[in-house]
């Protein structure tokens, strides 16, 4: 049994310790007791301090004295110190450690250690990433996908865009500021959002100067702090593009020149096969490019010209093998055409060398020289043709006779000549004029040429005198032809002049050493024919 007063005191103290709300009054008998009031105050401070500490409030000011309060203050000090240490660790000071909180200290300290190692690793990774990012030789940027804000760029970006580090530092930069075509950029972002990465898309940019930079963009969406960003690597292909364009233009130009040139431009390997032939070949030879490319050398050149090609190739191979420069070849070649005719061409062939000086083939230009050939032939013809009668002139007759004299020395059958003269030609000129006389000469030549053999050579010897050389013909054959011609001419009605007769002197080769001796024999025979009444054939026995 305890006293009533003691019961009241116990109830009061129980309420202080056990109840949530303490509306118990101090027992009246103790309300004025100095010692109890002091104790009551301490109990209330302990209660309040424990409640605050329990609620996590470390800033509660614990006032009062005594062992229990001191311990509470010590606990509060430990927790406050822990708070301070945690803040220090958060700020990067990993040297902080806790020693006064028992098992918790060890856990806390190992957590700190682990944090330190992890942060160190992250920092290392970050540094490596930064280093890699900065040393990527291509422009690399990270930008916000929505507003285009660039949050990171590397050294290559600065260099390509021609900015200095200082110019962009602490500035908000937007990727759209550097895009040449905003529509193109918008499409790119749209595609990126759909596919989440894009490889090697070509886009144009401009840096500090307005010069266009062409880039090959590869992008990927990455999340930074929860927001989608683009990580883009942009390869600067501006220079490459320029070179490509130049190359294409130059190739196009060459192709254009080759394709449109009247000359045939071709390339050929040392095996004699074409590797390229310009389309103009069709105009020249009638064959298409494809047909020509498939032709063998024998089909490309006529036999007399083929030898040039074969020799040229042999020479070229020998020179190349001995590391000597290819010798430019120029020559006239006869080439077969699709329609069976031939065409004369002039080819100029030179060597093609690669940049490092290796021989890689031959380049030829073939030009149609038919017109020139015709002209040349015409010049030759004119030089041996009598202008009025279009028969051979004295020059051709001299040449032919020299040839025949040489041949006659070894031939079994000799040659003969006829010298013929129009009888009383002066009368024709006098009666009808020179024009009619000239006409008689022309018509006479026509008769002669029509009735001599193809090998026989008819030429004007001078005035109204003609000389005919008859290869492989003895005196008898010569006389026979002469008599035939004399009769044909005599039977012919000449324009305006009517009937005209001729006298002919025949001579055959008799071991003559010169033209003069055979010609003089024929002359003598002609003289004899004139003397014997004209319109006849004579020869010397």
């Amino acid at each position: 049994m305890i006293s009533n007063e003691a019961r009241l005191l116990l109830d009061y103290l129980e309420a202080q310790l056990y109840d949530v709300k303490t509306n118990q009054d101090i027992p009246t008998s103790l309300a004025n007791d100095e010692g109890f009031l002091q104790l009551d105050k301490t109990i209330k401070i302990i209660r309040a301090s424990v409640v605050e500490l329990g609620n996590g409030n470390l800033s509660y000011q614990i006032n009062g004295k005594g062992y229990v309060l001191g311990s509470l203050k010590s606990l509060q000090a430990s927790l406050r110190n822990l708070t301070w240490k945690t803040k220090a660790i958060a700020a990067g000071d990993f040297s902080q450690s806790v020693h006064c909180l028992g098992d918790f200290s060890d856990s806390f300290n190992s957590m700190t250690k682990k944090l330190e190692v992890s942060i160190h690793e992250i920092k290392e990774i970050q540094e490596h990433f930064k280093m890699i990012f900065d040393t990527i030789p291509d422009m690399t940027i990270i930008s916000n996908i929505e507003d285009g804000t660039v949050i990171a760029y590397n050294q290559a970006f600065l260099e390509t865009m021609k900015f200095t580090k200082e110019e962009l530092e602490n500035k908000t930069i937007l990727i759209t500021d550097y895009c040449n075509d905003l529509g193109e950029h918008a499409k790119f972002i749209e595609r990126l959002k759909k596919d989440s990465f894009i490889k090697n898309a070509e886009m144009n940019f401009h840096g500090k100067s307005d010069q266009i930079i062409t880039g090959l963009v590869s992008s990927r969406i990455i999340k930074i702090k929860g927001a989608p960003h683009t990580l883009s690597v942009i390869r600067d292909i501006t220079e490459l593009k320029a070179i490509e364009k130049k190359l294409r233009e130059s190739e196009e130009l060459h192709r254009l020149l080759a394709d449109n040139a009247a000359d045939v431009i071709w390339t050929m390997g040392l095996d004699g096969k074409f590797t390229y032939v310009s389309p103009s070949v069709e105009k020249l030879r009638g064959y298409t490019v494809a047909e020509v490319l498939a032709q063998s050398p024998e089909e490309v050149l006529c036999p007399s010209s083929l030898i040039h090609l074969q020799k040229g190739l042999e020479n070229a191979i020998r020179l190349i093998q001995n590391n000597l420069p290819f010798k430019v070849f120029r020559g006239e070649l006869e080439q077969p055409c699709k329609n069976g005719t031939t065409v004369w061409t002039e080819a100029t062939v030179s060597g093609i060398y690669s940049e490092d000086g290796r021989f890689i083939g031959m380049l030829g230009v073939t030009r149609d020289i038919s017109d020139r050939k015709i002209m040349e032939e015409e010049i030759v013809r004119l030089s041996v043709t009598d202008k009025l009668t279009q028969s051979y002139n004295r020059l051709k007759l001299d040449e032919t006779m020299d040839e025949q004299l040489k041949l006659a020395k070894i031939a079994t059958v000799p040659f003969s000549i006829l010298i013929l003269d129009i009888d009383h030609f002066k009368r024709v000129n006098d009666n009808y004029g020179h024009q009619v006389g000239d006409r008689v000469l022309v018509e006479l030549v026509a008769i002669l040429q029509k009735h001599v053999r193809s090998d026989d050579v008819v030429g004007r010897w001078g005035g109204e005198e003609f000389l005919i050389i008859l290869p492989n013909t003895d005196l008898e054959g010569g006389v026979g032809l002469a008599e035939k011609l004399q009769k044909l001419v005599g039977a012919n009605i000449f324009t305006r002049a009517g009937r005209v007769t001729i006298s002919i002197g025949v001579a055959a080769y008799q071991g003559d050493l010169s033209q003069e001796s055979i010609v003089s024999r024929a002359d003598s025979a002609l003289y004899l024919a004139k003397k014997n009444g004209r319109n006849r054939v004579e020869y010397l026995k």
Binding site: G70, A77, S95
Partner: protein, 178 residues
Amino acid sequence: MEKKYEFSWDLLGDIEAGRPNMGNTTRVEIYRLMQFTFRDIIEKHVGWEKTNEIFYDAGQLAGKEFYLHMLEKTDNLNAFINQLQDVLKELGMGILRIEEADMEKGELTLTISEDLDCSGLPETGYEICTYDEGFISALLESFAGIPFIVKEIDCWCTGDRTCRFSAKAKNEGNQSEK
């Protein structure tokens, strides 16, 4: 006033040579015996308040010399505190802990547990660690380059389990008041 002795670190003597067998440690009772007998006699001579002043100043002189000879110079507060913690613990002077530190405001709250001077003393009802106050103020001044006023707000002697000190930088206003 006649003055013969002027403290310097050298005057602590060559302990290793002097105490080859006894070594460099003594018992805490002996340290306290000396300190509190001093306090008793000095108080008799100059009173409570003046004695506190003397102990504060002596603590400051000790702190200044301690900083010079026992700590490595650093500008970093955390590094300084860590070093101090280690040295105080190693020398058996107490366990230093920081509760708050705001060097911009020049305000710190720190506690020393198991204090060499007062932990375990019977409750006297008044703070007694004035030597520590001076000691801490000199350490902070040496580190920060500005003077600090340090006041013990909780002490074993006032019934607390730990000594808590509040340190405040003396600003110019305060200085001009002096």
